[in-house]
Symmetry: none
Subunit: 421 residues, 2 copies
């Protein structure tokens, strides 16, 4: 079964909001085995809405339209469905009654007459009664065979009708599911990942593999279709296992959790406490770790030591290091990690220092990063270079520090320094 999503609303075309409805609807449709092959977005214009629905109905079995069912003059999806069907509108007395009841229950005195447009349904269409809002959804069958659903654009009202009516109707018709498994990797590029595993999928359409790169990590998604969840999982399992084996130490999770969630989980599982010493990232690593509920069990503190005085005064970095190799150096990173561990009394100390740019810092070129980890059974530093803008350099520094910690906690080999420029 093929579906298409048509979102109606000029605010989407002006970029005032993102089309998050389409994301949610696509994810929900995929989960019951319905293929979404296109999204369209059109403004509040009758002709363009009709054209979009007509195009969608020629290439999809199910068209789900969202938006344009409200009470105001620019809400014209109802009329567009009527125009596409070529039928007049019928006012439903029971919907009129519902609208008046809802208005009374909202504590408002008088309902604008224009709201009654929401009681209009194209002849030959049926409607989905609204629970939360006031706009009924619409269901229409086109002569050529496609079915059109129209739901409100307000996200909660859209979700209510998708979950209450549409997904149920489609799931029973579609028979089949799509399942995905996501592996996430840090410290390796998309193309290098792809080279290691692409042959597993060449010519295969079930399961398929997709790569999605963003700021210092790559998601590898393996997707399979089958009549049942169990069969889909059985298609995925051996392939995911082989992908994981080939990617080895690079994979930090196969549960689609974030790198900081992985780290907090590993710290908690081993009863290990952590303190950080951050310079280049200004507190970003602590912020990410403490964004995970339950972080307070494992995270003690972070010393954000941006100046040389703070590095020396709070963490005890030696003046000799600051004057010699400087604040962006292996020595400084190691002393910061050791200092954080000592000052805060944690099991592990994790440090980051570097030059985020745009200017050099402490004699180091922008993009130079040092991270270090110190504990009873580990003392490791890694230097590397990341080209790009300040935000990118800082993000990569965070990823490298968190991933160094993750590899240590999993007992994997720790990465060596790259050649620094």
């Amino acid at each position: 079964m093929r579906a298409e999503i048509v979102a109606v609303g000029t605010e989407l075309l002006l970029g005032q909001i993102a089309n998050t409805n389409a994301r949610w609807m696509s994810e929900s449709l995929a989960a019951i085995g319905v293929d979404v092959l296109h999204h369209q977005v059109v403004g509040d214009n009758l002709e363009r809405i009709v054209d979009a629905m007509r195009l969608a109905s020629t290439r999809a079995d199910v068209v789900v339209v969202t938006g344009g069912l409200g009470p105001t003059q620019d809400d014209i999806t109802r009329d567009a469905v009527g125009a596409l069907l070529g039928v007049p509108m019928t006012r439903h007395p029971e919907l009129e009654e519902m609208l008046r009841d809802k208005f009374r229950s909202f504590g408002r005195s008088e309902m604008p007459e224009s709201n009654l447009r929401q009681a209009d349904v194209p002849e030959s269409a049926r409607y989905i009664p609204p629970k939360r809002g006031t706009a009924p959804g619409l269901v229409a069958e086109l002569p050529a065979g496609a079915r059109i659903y129209a739901v409100p654009g307000v996200p909660e009202e859209m979700v209510e009708m998708m979950e209450g009516t549409i997904l149920t109707e489609l799931a029973s018709a579609a028979g089949g599911v799509v399942r995905s498994r996501v592996l996430r990797c840090a410290g390796i590029g998309e193309s290098a990942l792809a080279e290691r595993v692409d042959d597993l999928f060449s010519g295969s359409t079930n399961p398929t593999i997709a790569f999605l790169a963003s700021s210092g990590e790559v998601k590898v998604r393996i997707t399979a279709k089958a009549p049942t969840t169990k069969e889909a999982d059985e298609l995925i399992e051996p392939v995911a296992e082989e992908v994981r084996r080939r990617l080895g130490d690079e994979v930090f999770t196969s549960e689609d959790e974030s790198l900081e969630q992985t780290v907090v989980r590993l710290l908690a599982a081993s009863g290990t406490t952590l303190a950080c010493a951050e310079s280049i990232t200004g507190g970003g690593v602590g912020a990410r770790i403490t964004g995970v509920p339950g972080a307070s069990e494992v995270f003690v503190a972070s010393a954000v030591v941006y100046t040389e005085g703070a590095k020396e005064g709070v963490l005890g970095v030696s003046p000799r290091t600051l004057e010699g190799p400087g604040p962006v150096s292996e020595e400084c990173a190691r002393e910061m990690a050791a200092g954080a561990r000592r000052v805060f009394g944690s099991d592990l100390g994790l440090s980051l220092t570097g030059a985020a740019g745009p200017d050099s810092h402490g004699g180091a070129a922008p993009g130079t990063i040092w991270v270090a980890l110190e504990g009873t059974d580990v003392a490791h530093a890694r230097g590397f270079y990341v080209p790009g803008e300040r935000d990118r350099v800082r993000r990569w520094a965070e990823q490298a520090a968190l991933d160094l910690l993750r590899r240590h906690l999993e007992g994997r080999p720790l990465p060596a320094s790259d050649r620094l420029i």
Copy 2:
């Protein structure tokens, strides 16, 4: 001039990500007076990408395609542009050289041969050289008159080419300009803002006003169209002045800078240094401040004191406070701010403590926040309550602390505590 956006990527149709590129591109195109009438989304399928571009080119003057320019097998937008034009691909030696250079500068030894596909450009098309990433953009003129731009799907790379090339080319072609002035406000809701200024715009289509609320702040955008920049600015200026007058202390910038940029600018202008003491935010305030280039002139350090032991040991919060009012209290916030100032020797100390949720913390309900500011001429604490999830509570805490600092540096009245539940 009419434009259409085509986003390419199966991950969009699976609902794995929202089409935030289309939102950003739409907003940017609207800002230079280009009407966006449709969005389309298609998966990584050659035929459907070609069909989508062809349809777009029949109803728009400019088609901007995003996604599918990467190095992997499923990146086929380049081929689709070639197929639409009906021309073969040409490998450009200077792009090949650029790819090899970038790979070397990333510190990687060997480039996968498949990456060289990114050096292919359809004959008769030109390309946009990438700064940040490795994928060149494409520019093609169709015989029927429409122009097609193709840019990467990675947001930063898309923005780079939109801002560096595409918006400039289109703005000069569009004739006439659209100018916007953005005021940003913290600590006040969208509807409360709108109530104060809506009458200025009733019935006016030039300039117009729009409100955009997100995590603890509201952007107020005033937009005017005119033949020249000067005339557009003359339309905006008196209205912006009046809006700013009515919104008063709530406006932190009329230069569309972030709250942390405002704060760093004000600290630098007054030669004031800052240290932070963060609990609930885990380092988020320091990370935001140090994200601003030049922050090292004004930002000394932050003590991220997540545990009670760290609050006492590093910042000297008294055991009496921790045992009595507890770690989420006015007393603790004040002692943390004073401690940060004393320990790091800064002019000002700024602190945040609270319960981010989902559980209560130190006897305080989730959503309870205290921020405090301490200096020679200021000692102020503010408590308030924010409902919602962990991320939202933490973000509001950051906004409140930064805005308290901003108001102090601007000599404005400091906000009182709300009634706490």
